[in-house]
Symmetry: C2
Subunit: 149 residues, 2 copies
């Protein structure tokens, strides 16, 4: 009886694991009045008031429509402000509010915690090796997706 070997598609595992990560992060941060776009907030903070939505889209590897939604969401909750650029009237520079400054340490901290949970039982070497390979796989796939001729 020939038994077919089950090819576990790595795409599913990656997506599923990533979602688990974000879910756990969400649980840790459920004391906040936002329940997503944490990383966007961090990137805006790192932009020091000079980050445009276009650049944010690039850093988040997403499209501009999603960024509009994210910024609308964060701005609606009072964590981000759109400031019209004085240099280029089309651009908005994203800035963090004081309210956001208060919660950012907690967000960074929870991210570290969840990362620690994920890496539980792994050596430093394994962690860096894993990240390195993951980066290679990511590049391989995104290259293949763009060269989709």
């Amino acid at each position: 009886m020939e038994e077919k070997q089950n090819i576990q598609p790595i795409g599913r595992i990656l997506s599923h694991t990533g979602r688990s990560f974000l879910q756990l992060l969400n649980e840790k941060l459920n004391y906040l009045d936002i329940e997503r776009s944490y990383y966007a907030l961090i990137l805006i903070d790192l932009g020091h008031g000079d980050l445009t939505q276009k650049e944010l889209a690039c850093q988040l590897e997403t499209d501009k429509v999603s960024v509009v939604r994210i910024v609308d969401y964060l701005a609606g909750k009072g964590y981000v402000k759109r400031v019209k650029s004085s240099v280029d009237g089309r651009k908005y520079c994203l800035t963090i509010t004081d309210k956001a400054k208060e919660i950012l340490p907690g967000i960074r901290n929870s991210m570290k915690e969840v990362t620690a949970v994920a890496y539980n039982g792994l050596t430093e070497l394994q962690q860096t090796e894993f990240l390195s390979i993951l980066g290679i796989i990511k590049d391989n796939l995104s290259k293949a997706n763009n060269t989709g001729s």
Copy 2:
């Protein structure tokens, strides 16, 4: 000038890479008249006509509502049939149609190809090491999610 280190949240990378994988698979298989649920089809095939929707949900690590949608989709395209179990009238045993048998080799083949693309430049050892660590991380996170006290 204190420069904050950017914590790349691994959850995002995992999700994004997983999505890239599935997108590429989709491109390879765009000659088919289905554009998702390939892995479900493989699992149903491996079930040899004995797989219920409940079990499929378990194997796909998803909920029963999603499985209803998946089976509706595959059945609507003529790849899967629901056969009422003679033993338990509540259950449906999922079976593959002849049409599905024709396309399964192509699906398995494309999965192998995309996996090869993803692993490009990595040694066998790196690949197995990666999968092993990914499994550990996945377990760590799902354990933490269930024990969400």
